[in-house]
């Protein structure tokens, strides 16, 4: 009986994994597809045309990569920095309005970015933030920050204040106690927060479309027209690049987080 149940469980989970991986696999196939007409289950002709078309426009590709990654990296850094401070205030202090601040910090989860973008654009235009990188960064930040705050609330609680207290009585000021003791222990969760904030920003379409006007181009913006016009192989190349960059960022932050976790004794993140 037990073995059957084990088989059933594993079967369901494996099916789930297949459902996740299959669409990604079709993407890879489409990157190299030249012709894939109905009703074949496999492309008739392969070619590197789509790939070459995009890599051929090297300057464009590099500036696209550059602006997309730059924006999202800045957003991620800001999210983590602000997140650490916000989490500290909410976890270690009691003060008036604490619950209110906690609530509003999570509010972007519940107001769609479309609504916000259409509401804020007028004001951004007035202060000159529209069609600018900084405007896009701010808009992305508003929607990436709650993810970072959420993760850092957990991490800050886990690290706690006890070690800082010990550092204080041993002669460290509160600033030094944080920097030398708590900060290194928060690095793994900060890295996770970084990658989450990065992904959320990198994936934004509508916000960039509206606030960036036509000027700010990111992967998402460039991809959609090809998708809508049926140009599947080019759209797939962009999609593949998109995924590739994101996977690299995730991979790097995960490796670093693992290293730091080990250094910290691995106690807090199990």
């Amino acid at each position: 009986m037990r073995k059957d149940r084990w088989r059933l469980r594993t079967g369901i989970l494996l099916m789930f994994v297949m459902v996740i991986l299959m669409p990604a696999a079709t993407l890879i196939i489409w990157v190299f597809t030249e012709r894939w007409s109905w009703p074949d289950l496999w492309p008739q002709t392969f070619s590197l045309r789509a790939v070459r078309e995009i890599t051929g426009r090297k300057g464009q590709l590099i500036s696209l990569l550059g602006s997309s990654i730059f924006i999202s990296v800045v957003v991620a850094f800001l999210s983590v920095g602000i997140g650490v401070m916000t989490a500290r205030a909410l976890v270690f202090y009691e003060f008036r309005g604490k619950r209110f601040f906690h609530f509003v910090s999570m509010l972007p989860f519940l107001v769609p970015a479309t609504v916000f973008a259409m509401g804020i654009q007028v004001s951004f235009i007035k202060v000159g933030l529209n069609n600018s990188v900084m405007g896009v960064v701010i808009a992305h930040l508003i929607y990436s920050l709650p993810y970072a705050v959420r993760l850092l609330l957990e991490g800050t609680r886990a690290v706690g204040q006890t070690l800082e207290e010990q550092a204080r009585v041993l002669g460290a000021s509160s600033g030094k106690a944080f920097l030398k003791i708590s900060f290194p222990l928060l690095v793994p969760v900060m890295l996770t927060g970084f990658s989450m904030a990065y992904v959320v920003s990198f994936s934004q379409y509508f916000l960039t479309l509206l606030i960036g006007g036509g000027k700010i181009k990111t992967f998402a913006i460039v991809m959609v027209p090809y998708l809508q016009s049926g140009n599947r192989n080019i759209a797939s190349v962009y999609g593949g690049l998109f995924l590739g960059v994101t996977l690299i960022v995730f991979g790097v932050t995960e490796r670093l987080a693992g290293k730091y976790s080990k250094k910290a004794g691995g106690e807090y993140y199990g």
Binding site: T162, R168, V169, G171, S174
Partner: protein, 248 residues
Amino acid sequence: MSLQVEKLNVILGREAILHDVDLSVGSGEFISLLGPSGCGKTTLLKSIAGLLEPSSGHIYIQSELVDLVVPEKRGAVIVFQDLRLFPHMTVEKNIGFAMEIQKIPKDICRQVVGELLEEVNLAGYEKKKVREMSGGQLQRVALARALAARPRVLLLDEPFSGLDETLRQKMGELVRQLHHKHHLTTILVTHDKQEALRLSDRIAVMAGGRIRQYDHARMVFSADGTGFTCFPKQLEEVQNESAKKDHI
């Protein structure tokens, strides 16, 4: 007077924990703070160290009023019950922490760390990681770390909990030795009467947030070393009170 606590009142949240606590400890004296769990011993230590702010009262360390002095400048070092060794640092870095903060040159730090490790019988353990060591070893590291900070007052909050009886006694002796060698003004918090009697010059009996009795060790206990000589009834009352509270 190395430490003087005057009419200290401490409130945590809505509860009054310490009531009009008076305590004075002479330079180089070793006293025990004895009492049941929940009577406010840890709160008192934390207040002396500056980690908690009293609602009223004064604290003097080496005749200096420290009410407004930040914890890192008071020189009251606590060894906590949960040791609180820094997990991301080696033994050497843990012990040398206070010296690093004071920007003491690295070679002097290394020397002091080496000497302290020898005193606590952990010679050669400089590069060991915290997670590689046993409970008894970790407590000795915590002690060495506190000593390296050259405290004006050493506060030990039930530092031997979780150790078996033999190890407990050995650690107690070690503390007594170190106290003697470094002339440290020491307060040991414990709920173990035998330990208090064995190690300290004077004993402060605490219950319900007040010091009930403060006297030389032998005066606090009856001839056979079991019960308390003075105010035993009061102590019993307080113990019954806290038992009732737990039940609710």
